[in-house]
């Protein structure tokens, strides 16, 4: 499997996925 960080779009999409994961953690478990 290709590393998504090798492309700029893969990096941006990875960042958006991480944002959703952290958002769910923040709203469900931390607030």
């Amino acid at each position: 499997m290709k590393n998504p960080l090798d492309t700029l779009w893969g990096t941006i999409i990875s960042g958006l996925i991480l944002l959703v994961i952290l958002y769910v953690i923040a709203t469900k478990f931390l607030h």
Partner: protein
């Protein structure tokens, strides 16, 4: 220091830091690859990259310090944020992401870029390995910057409840 001055400095330094990060990732990486192909890369590695890295790594330090001061002075609490306590949790996530990014700048990107740019001696194999580590650390910071910026501004606007 007045809170507004600290916050202004924090955002100013943060724009410089993340702006240069995006320059590296969206412009310089691709530009250097094209320049290597036609043999014009020497000017970039000698004159552009070292200056960009100088502003980049020191802006990162200023951003972190002014951010730490802001957490205390704004009444959020540095420890509360990093322990993700209550209402300090959202900006605490941003603070953790920013701290990981600062670590990557000073302990992965800069030491490896020094080898790549010839600031410290390294053979070709060590340079190739250093370039890969620096590249992935830089890309990791670009990825982390997306949620980092969201959680940094959440404190002023509140965490939106979409679900």
């Amino acid at each position: 220091m007045e809170l507004i001055l600290d916050r202004w400095l924090h955002i100013w330094a943060g724009v410089t830091w993340v702006g240069l990060l995006y320059y590296f990732n969206a412009v310089q990486v691709q530009g250097l690859a094209a320049a290597r192909a036609d043999g014009t890369n020497a000017g970039i590695t000698k004159h552009i990259a070292p200056r960009a890295l100088l502003w980049f790594r020191w802006a990162a330090i200023v951003t972190w310090i002014t951010g730490a001061i802001y957490l205390e002075r704004a009444g959020i609490g540095f420890v509360n944020a990093f322990l993700l306590r209550g209402g300090a949790a959202p900006i605490g996530i941003g603070a953790w992401l920013g701290t990981i990014m600062l670590f990557n700048v000073w302990f992965l990107i800069w030491p490896n870029q020094k080898k790549v740019l010839g600031i410290v001696p390294a053979d070709d194999a060590a340079k190739a390995k250093a370039a890969r580590v620096a590249f992935l650390a830089s890309r990791t910071n670009t990825m982390l910057s997306i949620p980092m910026l969201f959680f940094m501004i959440v404190n002023a606007h509140g965490l939106p409840r979409i679900f």
